[in-house]
């Protein structure tokens, strides 16, 4: 091959199915703020086409367009009448751009740590260590935290969540099911309480929960930033642990991790194989086996609600609303189940959020690097939440949680639905 192909074959076909109707533009949170064509999914699909056909050179400017005007929220994919997978194209271009121009060293270092964190996590002090390392140059320096207010970023867990739970948690009585639990990095390092809630609720439902100690980052933030080689390490590590035929489900508490594990692994492995990476059939088969078992934890609970013990009605009703994370509602097409879980709690007065499935504007590191656009998108979200007069905003994604809580009226708590369920179970 004289010239390195930009995109794998099954990804490349997308560029020819974009008929440039522009309907994606209506659903793009970034375009609404930028109002230029590079911000449109259509525009980036067209650029991908030119790059792939060799009629446009990859430049710093092109790299900037693919990184700074896309949250990879998947709204365009979910709403494209022609079924074009812009996300696959964009992450492919980002990969090539990162190869040529590199990515920010802080980001690269973070990703390498996430991918190989298990060397670190043996130390119970990883959390504090990470805070020291990233707290300095990245997070605590207000200039570098972009749209995030550093004072409101939650503290790292005292210990990584995985060090606080046994590898297998068995219920007291009859075992109704056996599941693997993929807790993302966010639960591991920032939101240990979500992990505690997931384990506790599942246990009370009579579910045996296996929490593999060596689990890695899902890889999505890494490959979406163009670091495909690093992401591949994550994918392989996770497949070894989670592609198991002998469990009923693999539950996930993070919308982003869930979307990665369910939708992206097999596709990415195929893509990389076409582009010359040594990927075996067995690995692709393992990715498909695992994908079929992936369930957002709220979906698992909703499907087996008869296993839940009687929920206690509290005193005053708690007014709760729900934000649809992009990777759950658009990526996994899940919107009813988390609401069902919330509505099943007797102490909850559920109120629907206007624009519930609009992106929160976070997009992982997007909010750090592209603060102005991100902040505007988040503002629409928090204004809608505050208008509902809810006391709690529930959402199934720690990424959205981090972003929204950072900008929201502090009187409103931001929780995972399972945390509310746990409160109800424990009275």
């Amino acid at each position: 091959m004289a010239k390195q192909e930009l995109l794998g074959e099954n990804t490349r076909e997308n560029i020819y199915h974009c008929i440039k109707c522009g309907l994606c533009i209506a659903h793009c949170p970034v375009y609404k703020e930028v109002l230029k064509e590079e911000a449109t999914p259509r525009g980036k699909v067209q650029l991908s086409r030119h790059l792939s056909e060799g009629s446009l050179e990859l430049s710093e400017e092109v790299k900037e367009a693919f990184f700074s005007t896309c949250l990879l929220c998947g709204s365009c994919v979910a709403n494209c009448p022609s079924g074009v997978h812009g996300d696959h194209l964009f992450s492919g271009v980002r990969w090539r751009a990162a190869q040529r121009y590199g990515i920010d060293w802080k980001k690269r270092m973070m990703f390498q740590l996430l991918a190989s964190k298990w060397k670190m996590s043996k130390s119970a002090f990883f959390g504090k260590w990470a805070r020291k390392v990233f707290g300095g140059p990245w997070i605590e320096d207000k200039l570098n935290a972009g749209a995030l207010n550093v004072a409101r970023v939650p503290a790292f867990n005292e210990q990584p969540f995985s060090d606080t739970v046994p590898e297998v948690v068995r219920p007291a009585g009859k075992v109704n099911a056996r599941v693997l639990y993929f807790h993302g990095c966010a639960t591991n390092y920032l939101y240990g309480a979500i992990g505690d809630a997931v384990v506790d609720v599942l246990k009370k439902m009579g579910v045996e929960v296996i929490i593999p100690k060596e689990q890695s980052c899902c890889g999505l933030p890494i490959f979406m930033s163009g670091e495909r080689e690093t992401a591949l390490t994550c994918i392989r590590d996770n497949l070894k642990l989670f592609a198991r035929p002998d469990v009923d489900a693999v539950v996930v508490d993070c919308a982003t991790c869930g979307a990665a594990l369910k939708n992206e692994y097999a596709h990415l492995l195929r893509d990389l194989r076409q582009l010359g990476e040594a990927v075996s059939d067995a690995e692709i088969a393992a990715a498909e086996l695992m994908a079929a078992k992936i369930k957002d934890v709220t979906v698992f609970i909703d499907e087996h609600k008869e296993w839940l013990p009687q929920l206690k009605a509290g005193g005053a009703k708690l007014r709760v609303t729900y934000h649809d994370p992009c990777h759950l509602v658009k990526g996994m097409k899940i919107s009813a189940q988390p609401r069902n879980v919330l509505k099943a709690i007797p102490g909850v007065e559920y109120v629907e959020l206007p624009g519930a499935n609009d992106c929160c504007g976070g997009g992982g590191s997007f909010q750090v690097e592209h603060a102005e656009v991100s902040r505007k998108i988040t503002k629409r979200k928090t204004a809608n939440i505050e208008a509902t007069k809810a006391q709690v905003l529930a959402t199934c994604c720690p990424g959205c949680n981090l972003t929204i809580a950072n900008h929201l009226d502090p009187a409103i708590r931001v929780l995972h639905p399972v945390q509310l369920l746990r409160e109800a179970l424990n009275g």
Binding site: K20, C21, G22, L35, E38, L47, E57, P81, S82
Partner: protein
């Protein structure tokens, strides 16, 4: 004038962020939703009428072609800079300037997205009627320039029926006002000339639109037929009985399949045609009218009728219709859409000819149409990478235009002539007709700088 100087001058007028000129940006503004591509020399975003006037004046003084565009959803190549020059992007001029509920008028900038405007009006219980299928992306400026239609135009008329006034930047940068909030302005009807002029006569920087209170009641019916003829005859019969529903939209089997795959709206995959009938108006009498329509459908062998029970069901039906063009992108990578119009009663006959043309050129054709208006939308499906197929597509499209003209209709109902249908103008206009139009163009734009190379073919003499 060399490019560097041009850019430096433009930056002075609109600021560095609003002047785009790099290989990437030329690629980003070389297309619209048609098959045509051509790069501008420079892209300029303006934020006020003054800036537009300055840029246009500059282009005029330096003989630079200039083409205004919004979101670039044109279906006939109207937004493509065939002669290079400046691409003037109006997306940042997207404000509502005056919402005058008492007088049922709204004044907007041209870059406002049609549906964004409607959503704002809905908060006040009001509505702007035209509803091009692409309304969630298209802008009012483009809607007026193309005189966009949409399903509800059957009852309410096309965009120009709802534009009552405009602020217009002329070719030399002068700003004029035509029409206004009042009805029936004296003098020449310049507004009438500007509607559908496709950006070749001037640039609208402000539009005054008619708004109306939302209908008290709406009934949406999905009628499923086993033959296209039965559907077509139903349409003729409904209108023949003196009823004008808000919409009479039809789709054929190929479109139904594509839409179903994209939107899962519950259209039956084996239906030959579906007809979407929507009634709007007062609550009183609505049920009686619905019954009459249903009776007509039954007389014409309707297989099944589904009446939407609530807004959610209604939205689902319309999502299927409005996403139909995009959805056919699932069948083949590209489509070319014609939008010829024929007298309504000749619709079944025309459609039969379209089917023949598809067979003749070995091309799949999906059909969606504003049946009530006799406005066809045959979507010819193909893959532009296949050059032989592409040539057959253009031949088929030309033949479809000829058929429409021969039926006593015309070559475009709402998407504009642009580039793609320019060669069809002679099918419906004589050389004298076009000479009259050229005189209008020369009066507004003697240097031929505004969206040159569109709508009017060169005269035989000049060519």
């Amino acid at each position: 004038m060399d490019k560097e100087t041009m850019i430096a001058e433009l930056v002075k007028m609109v600021g560095r962020d609003n002047v785009l000129s790099s290989a990437m940006y030329f690629k980003l503004y070389e297309y619209d939703a048609s098959l045509n591509r051509s790069q501008p020399d420079c892209i300029v975003l303006t934020e006020s009428t003054e800036q537009v006037a300055q840029v246009v004046k500059f282009a005029h003084a330096n003989r630079i072609p200039l083409i205004a565009r919004g979101t670039g959803t044109n279906l006939s190549g109207g937004s493509v800079a065939v002669q290079g020059g400046i691409s003037l992007v109006l997306t940042k001029m997207n404000k509502i300037l005056d919402l005058d509920i008492e007088n049922q008028r709204v004044v907007v900038q041209p870059g406002i997205i049609t549906l964004d405007l409607k959503n704002e009006l809905a908060k006040h219980g009001y509505l702007y009627q035209p509803d091009p299928a692409s309304e969630k992306v298209t802008t009012i400026g483009g809607n007026f320039g193309e005189n966009a239609g949409g399903p509800h135009c059957l009852k309410y008329g096309v965009t120009s029926n709802h534009v009552l006034g405009a602020e217009v930047v002329l070719d030399n940068g002068e700003v004029i006002r035509v029409g206004g909030k009042a009805l029936d302005n004296p003098g020449f009807d310049l507004l009438g000339i500007l509607g559908a002029s496709e950006g070749t006569l001037g640039i609208v920087t402000e539009a005054t639109l008619r708004i109306v209170p939302k209908a008290e009641a709406i009934k949406t019916m999905l009628c499923i037929f086993d033959s296209i003829e039965d559907g077509g005859n139903t349409v003729t019969a409904i209108i023949g009985e003196g009823m004008i529903p808000a919409t009479l939209e039809m789709m054929d089997n190929l479109t139904i399949k594509a839409v179903e795959e994209a939107y899962h709206v519950g259209f039956p995959l084996d239906a030959a045609a579906i007809l979407i009938v929507e009634l709007d108006g007062l609550k009183d009498g609505m049920d009686r009218l619905t019954e009459r329509i249903l009776a007509i459908c039954r007389q014409h062998k309707v297989r099944e009728i589904r009446v939407a029970k609530d807004q959610a069901e209604r939205d689902k039906i319309w999502a299927g219709r409005k996403g139909a063009f995009g959805a056919v992108g699932r069948l083949r990578p590209n489509y070319l859409v014609n939008d010829g119009t024929v007298p309504r009663t000749r619709l079944p006959e025309t459609l039969a000819k379209v089917v023949e043309i598809g067979k003749k050129y070995r091309l799949p054709i999906a059909n969606v149409f504003h049946a009530g208006d006799g406005n066809l939308h045959p979507l010819i499906l193909f893959d532009e990478r296949d050059k032989d197929e592409l040539a057959r597509v253009h031949a088929a499209a030309t033949e479809i235009m000829e058929v429409c003209a021969a039926m006593g209709g015309t070559i475009s109902g709402e998407h504009g002539i642009g580039l793609e249908k320019m060669h069809g103008m002679a099918m419906v206009f004589s050389e004298k007709d076009m000479a009259a139009m050229r005189q209008v163009k020369a009066a507004f734009d003697p240097l031929n700088l505004l969206n040159p190379g569109k709508v009017l073919p060169e005269s035989e003499k000049a060519a």
